[in-house]
Amino acid sequence: MTNEELISYLTGKFPEANIKLGSQYVEMTVKADDLHDTALQLRDSEEAAFDYVFCLTGVDYADNMGIIYHIESIKYRHLMVLKVRTADRLNPVIDTVSDVWITAKYHEREVYDLLGIHFNNHTDLRRLFLEDGWGFPLRKDYVDEIRIVER
């Protein structure tokens, strides 16, 4: 599908989502509660068939946390960006999509490790790189005590 076809397809399928054409890809923002259902429908629908997550990014916005999924359909070669924001910034919680796309399981562990976003129903949510008790370095209010980054 081209970007225009994708937009009209998504608008018909997810009327409540906020869909727009970003600088490169079609971007769709969904509510946190709808995330898992949306992901499942995007993967399973015959016309869209988004089966490959090539990037999963956690972002600390000023008043909440966001997760950005870059997904692609191998069959049709179209791609889009799925976005979601958490309600809370200090204790962010979101549903996992690791049962929809397996690779998300490990990317979510990375996001949990570096940003402290908790994923509901994740089967193996442990820290990936850092020790337990370490802060969450990618949060904007992280205190860099030994001044590795800021000089």
Binding site: G22, S23, F54, Y106, R127, V149
Partner: protein, 377 residues
């Protein structure tokens, strides 16, 4: 023999319990500081849990405090064997955001350098793959030939591995006057050496026995785990970014995407060997046709990206490498994410090794071609 086997099978006292072995972080076959927690029953692998983070250096966090041209120098340190591709990804992403079109000369040189880096990476992979299976000769053959590429890099970029040759808007400096001649000499030389690689290792009975049918990764699993690069293409996953979303000079050259549908360790081995031939083909098409022109576009002293999100994918030697920049209009990025191929590839290891022997684990891990700083970042 069969009597002994019967005794072992029928004797409960000789049956083994499951046990855990820590493989790494200093194990030679992990090629870096990676620890695998392996659950074994006898020699059979039941489960693998990778533990990473030994070389986590917080590159994404560091990027938030520095400017875009500086970020390029950090990307060298992630996947140090694909330094050129990583540099190029950041450069292309910044150029895309600023809507800068680089001269054709830059595109050609970048592509030649990419393919040279891919060759050097695959050579190193080939020599350590042989070494992991106990064929030490390959190590000397591979390093001998790789040295020639590193010399070419040194002459033009001033560095052998952490090259930092790309910069937003073009290249750091023009190619060395000897560059074209040396690359052509190298191609001529390496065309005679690649068949030797095949003679030495590819047809070897021990290698075939240890790789054929081992470490099966189906196409659906490859997509689900996001296994890209030669490892993904050996499962029939058409994931070559050079073909699917061409960048730099790839639209101008003819080359084949190497696909294999056997999905096993041998397939991953052969895909990489064939890719070396393809890389030589690509360089041959470009090396005599480098257009005249500037080696860089004049850019502003301080680069400020417009507000927004920018994504750039390139094909590194290990798979799809992605750079995702979120900019808020300042001179340093709000958030940078690197999609590293090794990260996704690593976690398919458990799926691939289940039920195989622990010696096969070494061979399977070797064909994934993991670079640990690329995983940990």
């Amino acid at each position: 023999m069969s009597e002994i086997r019967e005794v072992i099978i029928n004797n409960d006292r000789l049956a083994t319990d499951e046990y855990l072995v820590n493989m790494g972080p200093q194990h030679p076959s992990t090629h870096g500081v990676l620890r695998l927690l392996v659950r074994l029953e006898g020699e059979k692998v039941l489960n693998i849990q990778p533990h990473s983070g030994y070389i986590h250096s917080g590159i994404e966090k560091m990027c938030e405090a520095i400017t875009y041209p500086q970020i390029i120098h950090l990307t060298d340190r992630m996947d140090y064997l694909s330094a050129h591709m990583n540099n190029e990804a950041v450069a292309l992403c910044v150029e895309k955001a600023l809507q800068v079109e680089v001269p054709d000369r830059v595109k050609y040189i970048r592509t030649i350098m990419d393919e040279l880096a891919r060759l050097a990476s695959h050579q190193l992979w080939w020599c350590v793959f042989g070494m992991d299976l106990g064929a030490l000769t390959t190590f000397f053959y591979g390093l001998r030939d790789r040295e020639l590429i590193l010399d070419i890099f040194e002459e033009t970029c001033g560095a052998r591995m952490t090259v930092s040759y790309n910069t937003p808007g073009g290249l750091m400096f023009d190619i060395h006057p000897n560059f074209q001649k040396r690359v052509k000499d190298f191609i001529k030389y390496f065309r005679t050496k690649l068949p030797e690689y095949d003679k030495l290792l590819s047809g070897n009975v021990i290698l075939r026995e240890r790789t054929e049918g081992i470490g099966h990764l189906s196409l659906n699993d490859a997509i689900a785990f996001g296994v890209t690069g030669p490892s993904g293409r050996a499962s029939g996953f058409s994931c070559d970014v050079r073909k699917n979303q061409p960048y730099s000079a790839y639209p101008f050259v003819k080359f084949n995407e190497i696909l294999d549908f056997r999905c096993d360790t041998l397939a991953r081995y052969e895909v990489r060997i064939k890719e070396m031939y393809e890389s030589l083909n690509i360089i041959e098409q470009l090396i005599d046709n480098i257009p005249e022109g500037d080696y860089a576009v004049k850019m502003k002293g301080v680069l400020k990206l417009p507000e927004g999100e920018f994504y750039q994918r390139v094909e590194s030697a290990r798979g799809e490498f992605g750079v995702f920049i979120i900019s808020d209009g300042k001179k340093n990025p709000y958030r940078v994410k690197f999609r590293s191929p090794g990260f996704s590839n690593l976690f398919a290891l458990n799926k691939m090794t289940k039920g195989h022997k622990i010696a096969d684990l070494v061979a399977i891990m070797s064909t994934l071609d993991l670079i640990i700083p690329d995983i940990d970042r």
